[in-house]
Amino acid sequence: MSVSEQTATAPAGAVPEGAAHVPHDATTPAHHTSTGLSHEKLAMWLFLGSECLLFGGLISTFLLYRTREVTAGPPVGDIYDIPFTSVSSFVLLMSSLTMVLALSAIQRADHRRARTWLLTTALLGSTFVAGQVYEFTTFVHEGLGYTTNLQGSAFYTLTGFHGVHVTLGILMLLSLFVMSLRGRLPAGKAETVEIVGLYWHFVDIVWIIIFTLVYLIPA
């Protein structure tokens, strides 16, 4: 590239005197990333891709061990309470709906509604986690502890990992709620809600897979 071309592409030379405080990069589309996705959103997609392999490994481990003869305690397939888990699964799925409503509200700068839906989503998520705690307690009472047999270890690890993911999601939702209360979540920051939403929907989708493979399809 010749010098003249070089100068022509050097935007700083073109910035008029009065606009001197505009950083020279602002004249090039520096705000636009190469892919068009923001860094944060792309990073979240990448992270979720990685999470697929995490849950893939855990689900595979469970599927490997669910057909094994247990040496002690009940096999996990005998003590499922499908109606109960169906209800808590439904609650979790509905939280994806409220998450979308929260995003839609904040994009319209309707902060009151956005806060309501964020809190609702967090509450629905908490209901799911509470259901999981109840389920675990029941299973332990029925004789399946974490160390009782192979299936117990695999079941509690897989669903426990999912529960921790939901809990982290609830923490993020509550943080957003507090940020919004303190006026630190303007409509221009709607993407933050969207990114937390991506995580939340991912965790929901993983639960659909777990519920189908672990609970519904018999070993």
Binding site: V3, H21, A30, L42, L54, L58, Y65, A72, G152
Partner: protein
């Protein structure tokens, strides 16, 4: 005009009273000089140097362990190490070299070079980058602390079940291994997300994917492999940890568990890991060889796509590590075939390097010597690798020194030679002066001879049946001479490493090398050495593959390259090294917003070893670590990436209550080109 000489590039003021002070714990660090700046830096170049220095320190430790192994094996019935200590040594040697040397060394190059090569001012998430480094460092230190706390892990770097269970490994060594690798895994995962986002999102205008230097491509593929491989070993490590700490049954054969589960999970991670270790080194030599062959890289698209092909096929070959474990003839046949196939894209690379060297005006600098050594030595390692795809042959060689020879030719002959090529090549860019070529060549030849003397004979004793991972061997097996030679070779390697250290020290007063000492081809050579904090005065607009070379050279009427009389360096080049045009006098570098240093990455990272120690010793410590992590996460998350109080030009646009402050999630993408006003609008 040397803009950077006259004022500090960032103009970070002392920041009298920070307006935003997340969690009220610290005032914002502001120094960009002195030792404290290294603790709080978010500059990808400083973090790259930290990664490199730490990795070389671990290289010395891992090398020391290797020397002890070789001293033990120098003669039959060696008495230097007890079998227990021998096991710890080979375990820590392998774990160190893979996780604490080659991986962070490649993270060092990726961190330092990717933004420079794609024309960016930093990585996508600079504070996350700092966090990755500190997490890695603390993970490594945690792992090494096991030596002082009852013994290091002793079950090999692959740590097969059920030998890793409490019943067979009652000490805490395996716990340190499990938890330490979890921690360094977090660092790798964060780094992968960060660097992939950087490569995909922060390319300068015109820097299309197929104009990226091959190093960037190979690093990108390796980061994708990390992104998907790390969670798999994370699962394996969690299962093992739950077995050992909480009495789960995943690898408890008594409860009906399948120990092969560990092997599958480990090698689904472990084989892509091999490519994680070697692909960036391929990238390094793919940039070094064209520079010193004075030719463009032969078959650039083939180089890129063969790298991508390796990245995909690397997922389909893991069970060739398990041919001897009884996985059945169908699996063995399938994985034999896929292993043979993966040699094809690797072979493509070898031939492309040869094609680049062919009829080039070769300049044998130290960097070039290491690069050419990679091509030859990796070919040997690759060939013995293809031999293992033949399952009957593999069954014969499993657990012998032939395997040890093979993977050292791949990882030392491949990765480490590539890393040293990169060190000699980019040293003047990073530190402003070249390493001594005289000492460098002595270093190279000593290392080359030592390497072949150490690992060449292992092929022979391996074929003669000498088992690996065994502390002693009996007399009269015909292995004595070869083992003695190997030990001598290993000391030659150690001497060559000391020569490198001496070179680093002796060369520190070498004259300034200038911005472009090798007449390089890629954008990092268009800016001063060492680069200013903001890298480029003006974001470059890219029009070619090998952009910098095209800016320096035109063509005469016969199509021969002719150096232009005028071309412009892209940032603060000092008078001495300026040969082309001048810097752009119209650019006010104080307008460039960079992310501010932060205490939070190191604080957050400290929580992880606390949790790890807590899980082993007392849960109270783990709870404390958890609190540190939660506090650190909120501190890091709520802190604005760019300190609103740091001065950067007199823009007067930083009112304390202005909505523009809400940029806690706005990382450098906004910071590199953005202004708070725009953020709010």
């Amino acid at each position: 005009m040397a803009l950077t000489e006259e004022r500090p590039p960032l103009e970070l003021t002392a920041g009298d009273e920070p307006v935003r002070n997340p969690l009220g714990a610290f005032s914002r660090p502001s120094s960009s000089y002195g030792w404290r700046s290294w603790l709080t830096t978010v500059d990808h170049k400083k973090i790259g140097i930290l990664y490199g220095a730490t990795a070389m320190a671990f290289f010395a430790l891992g090398g020391l362990e290797a020397l002890l192994l070789r001293v033990q094996l120098a003669q039959p019935e060696g008495q230097v190490l007890s079998p227990e200590v021998y096991n710890q040594m080979f375990t820590m040697h392998g774990t160190t070299m893979v996780f604490l040397v080659i991986m962070p060394m490649l993270a060092a190059f990726s961190n330092y070079l990717i933004p420079l090569m794609i024309g960016a001012r930093d990585v996508a998430f600079p504070r996350l980058n700092a966090l990755s480094y500190w997490v890695f460092l603390f993970g490594g230190l945690f792992l090494y602390s096991s030596f002082f706390l009852g013994g290091a892990p002793d079950n090999g770097w692959f740590n097969y079940a059920p030998n890793s269970g409490v019943a067979f490994s009652p000490g805490h060594g395996i716990d340190f291994w499990t938890l330490g690798l979890q921690i360094t895994g977090i660092a790798s995962l964060l780094g992968a997300v960060n660097l992939i986002t950087t490569c995909l999102n922060m390319r300068a205008p015109g820097m299309t994917l197929l104009r990226m230097p091959v190093f960037v491509w190979m690093a990108l593929v390796a980061q994708f492999l990390l992104l998907f491989a790390i969670p798999v070993i994370t699962v394996a490590l969690f299962l093992l940890m739950f077995d050992r700490l909480f009495g789960a049954n995943f690898f408890n054969v008594e409860a009906g568990a399948d120990p092969l589960l560990w092997q599958h999970l480990f090698w689904i991670f472990g084989h892509p890991e091999v490519y994680i270790l070697v692909l960036p080194a391929f990238g390094i030599v793919s940039d070094v060889i064209p520079t010193f062959a004075r030719k463009p890289l032969f078959g650039y698209p083939f180089m890129v796509f063969s790298g991508i092909a390796i990245g995909f096929m690397g997922w389909g070959v893991w069970a060739h590590h398990m041919f001897a474990s009884g996985i059945g003839p169908v699996s063995v046949a399938a994985f034999s075939l896929s292993t043979m196939f993966i040699a094809v894209p690797t072979g493509v690379k070898i031939f492309n390097w040869i094609g680049t060297l062919w009829k080039g005006k070769l300049i044998f600098t130290t960097a070039m010597l290491f690069a050419v050594a990679l091509v030859s030595q990796f070919t040997i390692g690759g060939l013995s690798g293809v031999m293992h795809s033949v399952a009957p042959h593999d069954t014969q060689q499993t657990d012998t020194y032939f395997i040890v020879a093979h993977f050292h030719y791949v990882l030392f002959g491949g990765s480490m030679f590539g890393i040293f090529a990169g060190i000699y090549y980019w040293w003047p860019k990073i530190f402003g002066h070249k390493l001594s070529e005289r000492i460098g060549k002595a270093h190279f030849w000593t290392m080359f001879v030592g390497f072949n003397l150490t690992f060449g004979p292992m092929h022979i004793v391996g074929l003669q049946g000498m088992p690996r991972r065994t502390a002693t061997y009996p007399e009269g097996m015909g292995w004595d001479l070869m083992n003695l030679l190997e030990t001598i070779g290993s000391f030659l390697i150690a001497i060559s490493f000391l020569m490198w250290v001496y070179n680093v020290v002796a060369s520190r007063k070498n004259p300034h090398a200038g911005a472009d000492p090798w007449d390089g081809r890629t954008l990092e050579w268009s800016i001063s050495s060492p680069p200013p904090a903001y890298n480029f005065d003006v974001e470059p607009t890219v029009e070619h593959l090998d952009e910098w070379w095209h800016r320096k050279y035109g063509e005469d009427e016969h199509g021969r390259p002719v150096r232009r009389e005028h071309f412009t360096y892209l940032s603060g080049v000092d008078e001495a090294s300026r040969r082309g045009g001048g810097d752009d006098p119209d650019v006010d570098v104080s307008d460039i917003h960079l992310p501010s240093p932060s205490y939070w990455p190191i604080v957050l990272a400290l929580g992880l070893p606390l949790i790890a120690y807590g899980l082993i010793y007392t849960y109270w410590l783990a709870a404390l670590g958890g609190l540190v992590i939660i506090a650190g996460s909120f501190g890091l998350g709520l802190e604005p990436s760019v300190d609103p109080d740091a001065g950067h030009g007199d823009h007067g646009d930083h009112g304390p209550d202005d909505e523009g402050h809400d940029q806690e999630l706005a990382e450098v993408g906004a910071a590199a080109g953005g202004d708070d006003d725009e953020e709010a609008s």
